[in-house]
Amino acid sequence: MPIVQFAPLSSLVEPAFWHALTDLKIDVLRLDDAAVPLTASYAAGRSVTDRETGRAISLGCNLSLGGEAFRPRLQLPPHSVPVAGVFKNFNTIEDFKAADKTALVNAVTDEIWKSIVGERSTAQLSRFLLITFADLKKYKYYYWFAFPAFVAKPAWEIDGEWKAADAEFNEATLETIQKELHTNPRPFFLVRTSSGKPELAPVEEYDTFFANVPEEQHTVAFLDPSAAPANPGWPLRNLLAFLRALHPAATARVRVLCWRDTEPPAAPGGWKSRFGVLHQGAEGLLAEKPAAVGWEKNVQGKLAPRMADLAPMMDPTRLADQAV
């Protein structure tokens, strides 16, 4: 049985965010390095067809952070779901380097775990951490994201392999889900088909929603930021941890739908969503907070911060140079 491998989230920071950070740092935070809440978002994974080779190319599994991230009520890009996070800016590069990153990420995982076992809510499942040092004079921003995900022990395995969603669900079901998510995007949801009609519900209603439904019709679904055919996106990890922690009896085997269809398919049968049946041994029960992973790697694939150099787009002298 192959082990399920999850596609990690990768951060996509719009330049507008760095501008917003600059303003925030100068006008509001100044030397304050307290944590600030912020909101990012992700949408269903996309793939494009290379016109020259005809092959599908998966675009990244992105979490994007826009210029409005610090606003309490931001306007999300269409079909995206919000993700709450913690932002911490350091005043010096030394502080940034010396920061106790383990403690910071632990604080975040504690909150996620508390939201699972305490509030029994999925709202904080994808909570993330961003630490930065902004070198405002040079327009350089050092940053490091963490997308904490609980490690399942033993790892989840999949029966067979991931298959197209329309191999499992009929067109009508998929169309219903598509319509529902089109108007009301949600990160995690449940699907059941009672008397031929598909129904959706929040994951929090697991017990009542699946009360009289045969087990082979329980489906757990999530908005999947990954577009890789064999890799579900990162948010599924914490969703599975949530299910194992709260519904241990029913979730040794989970039918998972990775929802990736923002639009109805152009051609019939062209659904991009994936479906798989995952299982984990009975010993995988969660009594206490499991270990977590999820620091984002830099461009070399190493565990180190990234840097955005915006001097070419922000430095007035360099802009003047290239202007005609």
Binding site: L12, R237, A292, W295, V324
Partner: protein
């Protein structure tokens, strides 16, 4: 000098009157109301586009507060325009898009060259092997970044103690932190960049590189369409990210602009709906005249079609047909086969709602590798 020029533009923009009268068929310019209508249609038909309100202090009062500009994010750009190396063999793929036959100006400047029309997989490795080295980055950061792709693919060598010095010059002694214990080197459930090759249907960008021996750098762009009050046309803005999601420099953005237009019609300018943001923009001074010619052409076809349909009596499967036209760019073949645009019931010609759809097809000729014309991609 540049600052003065920008001030001048700002003043000129401020002073120029808002266009009130609908004249898009006469000279290709549209009113703010028509911009909103066309934008609504675009956002409705292709939901990757959405309205934004932008910076409140920069809001234009002739546009609705929540419909200041249109944006679509993460538009893929698989290859560099500079990588579409132009060889003699490509000449037959080159067509003059002459709009002169309708307006009969006979003026050469009215003709646009559409290149690479019949291009297929031809230009691979052998034709232009050195593509990757052409990136004219002055700073070492980016050069190291490019090498880093290979490093990232090479495996999950998390145990490596030395962080590459070239990457982040000021932070060369970042300790490999204790997170390693928590981290992925033992996490079998993390999909490695290379491990995802296993799938059959889709490919990760890095696999394509390997498979073709030709670096395919999938960049993404955020594309914005604003309304330019002075030129009375839409105006397009680009913010790019490389395959590592680092913002692109102007020089890198110009690689995605066809050589005829880089530095001439495409420049970096302050984005009008933000206090600080800079973005690459296609200068709109020629938009109106080009749009006028495209619209004239299409309008002719639309009217003929509508009359034909009226004569035949009934409006068969109108919705289908429109859909077909809108999704047609798959062939990549340009503008002169667009004549058969079905539109509304009456013989009124092309509706202004289509303006932005047409506009995007025109922009696609300036930035050939950025798939701004999303009508087929999603």
């Amino acid at each position: 000098m540049h600052a003065i020029q920008q001030q001048y533009w700002a003043v000129r923009d401020y002073l120029s009157p808002v266009l009130r009268e609908s004249k898009f068929k006469e000279h290709g310019r549209i009113t703010p109301e028509e911009f909103v209508a066309a934008g609504d249609f675009l956002a409705y038909k292709f939901p990757v586009w959405s309205w934004e309100r932008g910076d409140a202090s920069k809001a234009r009062d002739y546009l609705p507060a929540d419909k200041q500009y249109l944006v679509t994010r993460g538009v893929p750009c698989l290859r560099r325009a500079t990588a579409l190396a132009y060889t003699d063999a490509d000449e037959d793929a080159e067509r003059l898009l002459s709009f002169g036959d309708l307006s009969s100006t006979g003026n050469e400047a009215d003709e646009w060259v559409e290149t690479h029309t019949g291009r297929s997989t031809a230009h691979d490795s052998a034709a232009n092997p050195g593509e990757i080295h052409e990136i004219p980055d002055a700073d070492a950061d980016d050069a190291a970044g490019d090498g880093g792709v290979a490093g990232a693919m090479g495996g999950l060598s998390l145990g490596d103690k030395g962080v590459s010095v070239g990457d982040i010059p000021d932070m060369d002694d970042i300790p490999d932190m204790e997170e390693e214990d928590l981290e992925a080197d033992e996490d079998e459930a993390t999909a490695a960049p290379a491990a995802s090759a296993a799938g059959s249907g889709g490919l990760e960008p890095c696999d394509v590189e390997v498979a073709k021996g030709n670096l395919l750098q999938v960049r993404t762009y955020d594309v914005m369409i604003t309304y330019d009050k002075y030129y009375q046309t839409p105006r397009i803005w680009l913010i790019g990210y490389d395959e590592n999601r680092t913002p692109l420099t102007p020089a890198q953005i110009f690689q995605d602009v066809s050589a005829d237009h880089a530095f001439k019609t495409v420049t970096i300018e302050p984005f009008p709906h933000s206090a600080t943001l800079q973005a690459a923009s296609v200068h709109p001074c020629k938009h109106a005249s080009v749009m006028k010619k495209v619209i004239e052409r299409m309008n002719q076809g639309v009217i003929e079609e509508q009359q034909a349909r009226k004569a035949a009596g009934g409006a068969p499967a109108q919705k289908d047909k429109r859909g077909k036209w809108l999704f047609r760019r798959a062939s990549g073949n340009g503008k002169d086969d667009k004549a058969g645009t079905p539109s509304e019931e009456d013989v009124e010609g092309m509706r202004v709602d289509f303006y932005l759809v047409v506009f995007l097809k025109f922009i696609a000729s300036i930035v050939p590798t950025i798939e701004v014309d999303s009508t087929t991609a999603f």
